[in-house]
Structures are given as C-alpha cells and as structure tokens.
Amino acid sequence: MTFDPVAYASAALAGPLLLVLAAFCCLLLPLFFKGLRGVQGMISLGAVLVALAFFRHAPPAQLALFSGALQVSPLSAYLWAFAMGVLALFIALSLARPPAPEGSEGEYYFLAFMAVIGLLVMMAAGDLFTAFIALELLSLPVYALAGIRRSKPGIEAAYKYFMLGAFGSGMTVMGIAVLNALYPSLDFVSLKAAAPADPLALAGFLLVMSGFAFKTALVPFHMWVPDAYEGAPTQVSAFMGAAVKAGGVVLLWRVFSLFDGGPVREIFWWLTVITAVFANLAALGQSGLKRLLAYSSVAHAGYIAVAFFGGTRGWEAVLYYLPVYAMATIGAFGVTLILEKDEKGPKIEDLAGLGRTRPWLAAAMAAFMFSLAGVPPLAGFFAKFYAFSGAVAGGYTSLVVIAVIMSAVSVFYYLRVTVIMYMKPAPAEAAAEPRPTGLAEAVVFLMAAGVLAAGLLSRPLLALAAEAARWF
C-alpha cells in the first residue's frame, strides 16, 4: 500500500475541523435563522456522528503536523475516536434533558465542542507548549459548562473549579517556563533525549506534572472534584469524568514516561498510593450519588496511575482502561440524570426500590457499579487486571497490593448502591413520575451493553489499544 501523507493528514484532521465548523454553526446560525433555535443539539449530534462515521483505521505511520505541534498516528486516532464517542454520548444526554437555560443552547454546545477540540489537540500534542494551550482550551469551556445553569450550586461549582483549575494551570505554566529556560526544545522526543538530571529541571517537571494531576484529579489535587461534580449539570459531570480525566492521563503519561527512575517516579508512587487510599475511604462516607461517583472517579485516577508503572504494557492497559471507565461512568451518570429531581442529584437512598419499579434501569446501574468495582466478567475487572498486572511485571508489587486492598474497600460502597436498589423497599410516596427520557435510557443501555461486551469480548478492544500503544 502506498502511503500518501497529504491524504493521511487531511483524513485525520477532517473530523476535528468538522467539529470546529459545527461549533460555529451552533453558536452563530441560530442568531440569524429563528428556525434553528433549540435544535443546536441535533446539529451537534449529527456533526459528531458524521465525524465518527468517517473514522478509518489509521495507517501505521506517524506524521508530525504544524512543525511538530500535532503528532497524528494510530494512537491519536484511537484517542480521538474515544473523545468523539464521549462527546456524542454527552450530547445525547444533553438532548434527553437539556441542562442549559432556554436560549443558551448555542453557547452550551459551542463550549462543549471547544472543550473537545482542546482535548483532541491535547491527546496528539507533540510538545509541552501546545499541550498547555490545549489544556486551557479544554478547561475554560468546562468551567463555564459547570455553571451554565447559573444557579447557586452551579456557579459555586464553576467558581471552585475555575479557581483551583487556574491554580493548576499556573503551576503548569511555571514548570514550562523553567523547562523552556533549560532545554532548547519542549517537544517530548527531545525532552526524553535530554536526560533531566539537575534539580531545577526536576522542579520544572514536577510543577508541570502537578498541573496535569489537577485535571486527572489525583489526591491531593482533587479538591475541586466532589463540589464540581455535584454542582455541575449531571451531563457535564459525566463529561468531566470521562473526557477531562482522559486528557490529563495522556499528558501525565507523556511526562511520566520521560523518566526511567529517580525522584519523579518516587513522588508519583506516593501520589498513586495516597489517591487510592484517600479516595476510597472518602467515598465510603458519601450519601449523594454524584459525590460518590466523584470520589470513585478520583479512585480510578489512582488505579490508572498504578498502570503507569507497568511500562508499555501498562500504557496498553491505560488505553483499555479509559474507554471502559468512561462507559461505566457515563452510564452511572446517565442513571443519575434519569432519576434526578433537583440539581444536586439523587441521594443513594433515593434509589431504594429501583429494582422493583424500574428493573432494567436497576440492572444497568448494577452493571456499572460492578464494573467500577471490578467484578468479573464485566469490563472493569479486565481493565483493573491489566493495569495491575503490568505494574506487578514492572516490580511494583507493594503498590499493587495497596491498590487491590483499596479496590476491595471500594466494593463496599459500590455494593451498597446495589443493595439499596434491590433490598430496600421503595418509599410509599415514590410515584415515579414518567419523564420523556428515552434518549438517556438509550445511552444507559448502550453503555451497559458496552460494559458487558468489552468484558466478555475484551480481545478486540485490547488489540486496538495494544496497536495504539505501540505508537507512543
């Protein structure tokens, strides 16, 4: 097969460019054509589905675009397909129950598209500088999306998220400034070659990593997570859990993989342990479903960080982990969305009797919980298994032991949700008012099927992940 770089580049960039175009259509066209008002969601969904439909199996080659700013490869194709899939699900959930106030749908979808463009660039960034700008393009719209309802909890969530996020960005940019003063070039390949040894460089790398850890929500950089997840519209929380975290993970891995040993790994080891321990213990005491999922998201960031220690095999596991975790978390947030009556979402107790009143929904929720807990044969089990086995092979047994123990602790709070759904009778006045949430239910059942399929038939997804991982 002859390889044509121009055709490759244009095919790879067509999807992101279509998203940019759709973003501006959503923002501007309804201003001029009254008929388009209120249908921005449909336009967005259509655009994303078209972009996804044109995804082709990427040829096995890496192409540096824009003087190395973007590295297009099978890895970027895999991650981009993942990001666009998350966007499609996010839009579907938003269509099912519009979170944006009447008249701001245009801004809502525009911001969502911008965040995803930032995510796409971040996943394929060839240097730290581009990665930082992409990080901002991802973060700023999500801050606004968190407060899009302009209600009190929403604004509080947006404010906290913005303040802590800005702090994280400040640390990243400080680190980049230090590294820029020390190294001739900030692209990852030359950073890897320029063995970072002196303490100033170490400080720079640590600052950069802590900024990315904010986005990934590793403890102690997780403070924004519970409040932001709780106050933001549930769709946006799902997006934060599935997409924003993935972007942070990819960048963290890029920086982490520059080091074969030394203090950076040691510090990251401690970050991982603290994250796994603290997040799981904190999740035990939660009563709100959204807060529970928020802490679960922090905990899963810890498990992903464990996989980092497994080298290339660990990276494969991370690439498999991201979509698996995304499916379970989007599904769980989808159930939350269907059940929620006020902005802060249902309490765990509110799920009582769901097994009787809405058995299918309860079954799907149980599947998500078991997958998040890592119960075979669901996909979450294999994700954790590959993540941990890589680290064991790398000689980090003690780390894995801690992660496994904490993961056993997590079974308790995931199981509690299931027990309440099936064992507790529904409260008497719970006349579940029927709502038109067909699309949200479709998303939930699609995710449940995905969690099941990616577990029972994990080979194809894992093969894709392995192929993508080679192009790092």
Binding site: L111, M114, I117, F129, L137, L140
Partner: protein
C-alpha cells in the same frame, strides 16, 4: 545619559510602588501602579528594548489596568479596605518580602559578575512575528479559539436569566 534615565525611571517606579502600598483608596492605588508600570516601560525603552516596552504598555498598563478598574467598579466589596489584623499574617508578609529582597540583592550581585553570552541579539518585533506566524502558527490559531471560548463562556455565565 542612559544610566541617568534608567536610575530616574527606576526611582520613579520604586516611589510609585511605595506610595501605592500605603494608599487606602483603591482607584488612587491603581493610578500609582499605572505610574510604576509606565516607568518600567520607560526603563525598557531607555535600554532600547522597544518591543518589551510596547508589550509592557499594552499588556500591563493597558489590559491589566483596565481589568483592575473594571473589577473595582463592578465589585463594591473592593472599596472596603480590611487591613490584616492578625500579626501572624503581617509577620508572614514581612518574611516573604525579606526573602524576596535578599534573593533580588543576590541576583543583582550575581548579574554583575555574570558573563553574558556572546550570541545575544535583540529580539525585535519582526523576529517575534516570524516565530508567531511561522513556527507557532498552529498554537497561535489555537489560542484564538481559547480566547473566543473564554468570551463565550463568560457571557454565558454572566447573562441574566431570561425567565427571571
């Protein structure tokens, strides 16, 4: 001549900053800060770093001061001056100032003996533009999206509820 200008402008900047610190009225303080920023731009100009001087005026004296004044007019709380009561905070502030002062004095002493790289060349507007629209064109365009998304986000958050 140049040395005299640098010293005069430096003294002006230092004086304006000191006055700003002891100024209670926030608008007057902002004006004093503006003086300090402009004096700094003057130092850059005297050292024939025209681009840096222009950037200092556009970014700090222009954009950031505007932001300051807008914030002052929008937020009434900013007018109320709460001097820190806790002595601990004051000590902490003084300690931080002392650390920075020693650092600066050391850095200045080190600069006197430092050997400047011979390949040093002036960074002019042309060189910057060539980088910005050449090598970093993609990042530059991406930044335009960042700014646009921030504006849209800010408007979406600040707009009045239509149903209220």
């Amino acid at each position: 001549m140049i040395a005299a200008a640098v010293y005069a402008l430096g003294a002006l900047a230092a004086l304006a900053t000191l006055l700003m610190l002891f100024q209670r009225n926030p608008v007057k303080a902002a004006m004093l800060m503006l003086t300090a920023l402009l004096a700094t731009a003057g130092i850059y100009l005297a050292l024939s770093a025209q681009l840096l001087a222009a950037l200092q005026i556009i970014l700090y004296a222009g954009a950031i001061m505007t932001l300051f004044i807008v914030a002052l007019t929008v937020l009434p709380q900013a007018w109320r001056d709460h001097p820190a009561r806790a002595p601990f905070i004051k000590v902490l502030g003084l300690a931080a100032a002392a650390v920075i002062l020693t650092e600066l004095v050391q850095a200045a002493a080190a600069l006197k003996t430092a050997v400047r790289p011979t390949g040093f060349s002036e960074t002019g507007a042309l060189a910057l533009a060539q980088q910005l629209f050449g090598r970093f064109a993609f990042q530059f365009e991406l930044l335009s999206l960042v700014i646009l998304a921030s504006i849209v986000g800010a408007v979406a958050l600040a707009a009045k509820r239509r149903d209220a």
